[in-house]
C-alpha cells in the first residue's frame, strides 16, 4: 500500500537540466578510483601471490593488467663442444576491462617464478598469472619462454617469437609478448677450433610495457652462474662458460622475474 514516503518521491524529470553540481552529492559518490597491485616476493623461489579481491563499494568498472613470470635461465650446459646461449623470454602481458558489481570476489594470482633452477641446457617456462571471476573467461598471461644453450653454430641467431599469440587470446582484449633473447654471438679462439669460445654475450628479454634490462656476458670464464634475481616479468639469467668439456662444472641458471597484476578500478 502506498505510504507518505512513496507519495513524496521526486522524479529526476522535475529537476532542471544541468542543475546538479558535485557539491550536491555525498562526498564519496563516484569517488571510487583506485589502483591495486598484486605481487609476490621479488626473490628467487618466489611463490608469487594468490588472493581473493573484493570489488569495493561503488565500483562499476575494472581494468585488469597482468604479466606472467619470465622464463628461467639455462644451465652452463658444458659439453664436448662450445655452446652458445639464447636468453630467456619475458612474461606475456594481457589486459581486460569489464563491468563489475560491488562485492564481487575475484580470484587473482600473480605468478611465482616456477622454482626452477637448472644445470641443464634448457631452463623452464615461466608461470601464468590469471584472474577468475564474473565477466572473465580463461583470462591469463602466460609465462615467458625458457633460455637454452646448444653447440650448433648453424642455429639462426635472430630473436623470434617462441609463441606468437593473437592480441585477443587468453581471454583478454589486448595481450602480447616480446621475443625471447637471441643467441649470443661467441667469438672463437681459432687455435682451439670450436672449443674454448670467448666473448659470449646475450640478453634475457623483458615483459611488455614494463621494460627492464638483464644481460649476461663473459670473456674467459670456466663457469658463471646466473646469480642475480631479475626484475618482475623479466627472463632469468643463464649460466655461461667460455670453455667446453668442463664435465665437473655445474653452473646453474637463475629464476625468471615473478608475475604482476595491476587492478585499476572506477
Amino acid at each position: 500500500m502506498a505510504n507518505y514516503s512513496s507519495y513524496k518521491k521526486v522524479s529526476g524529470a522535475s529537476l532542471s537540466a544541468a542543475s546538479l553540481d558535485s557539491t550536491k552529492f555525498d562526498p564519496n559518490t563516484r569517488k571510487t578510483f583506485g589502483v591495486k597491485w598484486i605481487f609476490g616476493s621479488p626473490n628467487s623461489c618466489s611463490n608469487g601471490c594468490c588472493c581473493a579481491w573484493s570489488v569495493p563499494a561503488g565500483v562499476k568498472k575494472v581494468q585488469w593488467e597482468i604479466w606472467g613470470s619470465g622464463g628461467s635461465g639455462a644451465g652452463a650446459c658444458s659439453t664436448s663442444r662450445c655452446q652458445h646461449y639464447k636468453g630467456a623470454g619475458g612474461g606475456y602481458y594481457n589486459n581486460q576491462t569489464i563491468t563489475v558489481t560491488p562485492g564481487d570476489v575475484y580470484s587473482v594470482c600473480a605468478a611465482g617464478n616456477g622454482l626452477c633452477c637448472r644445470r641443464e641446457c634448457d631452463g623452464c617456462r615461466g608461470c601464468a598469472s590469471y584472474v577468475n571471476g564474473t565477466n572473465l573467461s580463461n583470462f591469463c598471461a602466460i609465462g615467458g619462454y625458457e633460455a637454452y644453450a646448444n653447440g650448433s653454430w648453424s642455429s639462426p641467431c635472430e630473436s623470434y617469437w617462441d609463441c606468437c599469440l593473437q592480441a585477443g587470446a587468453n581471454g583478454g582484449e589486448f595481450g602480447f609478448g616480446s621475443h625471447s633473447g637471441a643467441f649470443g654471438g661467441a667469438q672463437w679462439w681459432f687455435a682451439h677450433g670450436h672449443c674454448h669460445c670467448i666473448h659470449q654475450q646475450t640478453r634475457a628479454t623483458s615483459a611488455p610495457l614494463i621494460g627492464t634490462e638483464v644481460q649476461m656476458s663473459i670473456n674467459y670464464c670456466w663457469m658463471r652462474c646466473g646469480c642475480w634475481t631479475v626484475p618482475y616479468g623479466n627472463g632469468g639469467q643463464s649460466a655461461m662458460s667460455s670453455y667446453c668439456g668442463g664435465g665437473n662444472c655445474c653452473g646453474t641458471g637463475g629464476f625468471g622475474g615473478p608475475g604482476l597484476v595491476r587492478i585499476t578500478y572506477y
Binding site: A17, A18, K36, W37
Partner: protein
C-alpha cells in the same frame, strides 16, 4: 528563522531511483578526471622541475607515479690497462594512490640531472624524484646507478641490481609498488688494446623500457657519450679500445625524472 528556501530542501532519499540522468548534472560535475605530467628539459644539464600542485575542485583521489633520473655515463677512464665498461642504470619507479581534498597542496620534484664525474671511472648516481603532502610519507623514486669502468677482469660481467633491489611494497620509499631494473652489464673485452665493446644503459620501468641506449665501439681512440638520452634512462659512457692515452672522453648525463599525476 526558517525560510521558505530551507523548508523546500529535497533529500536524496526523496528522489526516485534511477531518475536523475546525466543531463541533470552541471557541466563540470564529476568531470574531474585528468592527467598532469611534471618534467624538466631533456638537456644534458637540467634542474628538473619542482613546483607546488594544488588539488583541483572536486578531486578526491590521486595517483602519483614517479621515476627518478637515470645515472650518468662513465668517463673514458684511461690508464695503463684496458677498461671494460658497465652501462648506467635507469631511474627507479614508484606509485601511490591516495585520498585527498580539493585545495590541498603537494610539493613535487621531478629529478634533474647535472654533469658529475663525467671523465672519471665511476659516474654519479641519478637524482631522486619525490612528492610531499597530505597522506604521503617519504614518497620518492631513486635515481639510477651511474655507469662505471674498471680493468679488473675478475669483475662479474652479468648485469645486477646496481644501486639496490628496492622493496616492491614501497615500504622504504612510501609507495604502493616500486621497482627498478638492472644496470647495464660490463662490456666484454680483455687485456690491452681491447676492441668490440658493447654496453647498454638501462631504461626506467613502465616508461622507457629496456636497453635501447647503446654504445658500441670496435676500434677507436676515444668516443664520448655524446647524445642525450630519454627520460629516466641511464646516460651513455665514454669509451676507448686502447689504454694509456691522454684522452678525456666524457660520459653523458642520464635522462631526467618524471612525475605523472592521475586524478579524479
Amino acid at each position: 528563522m526558517a525560510t521558505y528556501s530551507s523548508y523546500k530542501k529535497i533529500s536524496g532519499a526523496s528522489l526516485t531511483d534511477g531518475s536523475v540522468t546525466d543531463a541533470k548534472l552541471e557541466t563540470n560535475a564529476f568531470k574531474n578526471y585528468n592527467i598532469k605530467w611534471i618534467r624538466g628539459c631533456l638537456g644534458s644539464e637540467t634542474p628538473g622541475c619542482c613546483c607546488q600542485w594544488t588539488v583541483p575542485t572536486g578531486v578526491t583521489r590521486v595517483t602519483f607515479e614517479l621515476w627518478g633520473s637515470g645515472g650518468n655515463g662513465h668517463g673514458l677512464c684511461v690508464n695503463n690497462r684496458c677498461q671494460h665498461y658497465a652501462g648506467a642504470q635507469g631511474g627507479y619507479y614508484n606509485i601511490k594512490t591516495i585520498s585527498t581534498k580539493e585545495g590541498c597542496q603537494y610539493s613535487i620534484c621531478a629529478a634533474g640531472v647535472y654533469p658529475c664525474q663525467s671523465v672519471e671511472c665511476y659516474a654519479c648516481d641519478g637524482c631522486v624524484s619525490y612528492v610531499n603532502g597530505y597522506n604521503l610519507s617519504n614518497f620518492c623514486a631513486l635515481g639510477g646507478k651511474g655507469g662505471c669502468a674498471n680493468s679488473s677482469w675478475n669483475t662479474m660481467c652479468f648485469s645486477d641490481w646496481a644501486r639496490c633491489c628496492s622493496d616492491p611494497s614501497g615500504s622504504h620509499w612510501g609507495g604502493d609498488f616500486s621497482m627498478g631494473t638492472h644496470g647495464g652489464g660490463f662490456s666484454g673485452s680483455f687485456n690491452c688494446h681491447c676492441y668490440r665493446h658493447t654496453e647498454c644503459s638501462s631504461g626506467a620501468p613502465f616508461l622507457t623500457g629496456g636497453n635501447f641506449v647503446t654504445n658500441e665501439l670496435t676500434e677507436c681512440w676515444m668516443r664520448c657519450g655524446c647524445h642525450n638520452v630519454p627520460y629516466g634512462s641511464g646516460g651513455q659512457g665514454g669509451q676507448t679500445t686502447y689504454c694509456g692515452s691522454n684522452c678525456c672522453g666524457r660520459g653523458t648525463t642520464g635522462g631526467s625524472g618524471v612525475v605523472k599525476i592521475t586524478y579524479f
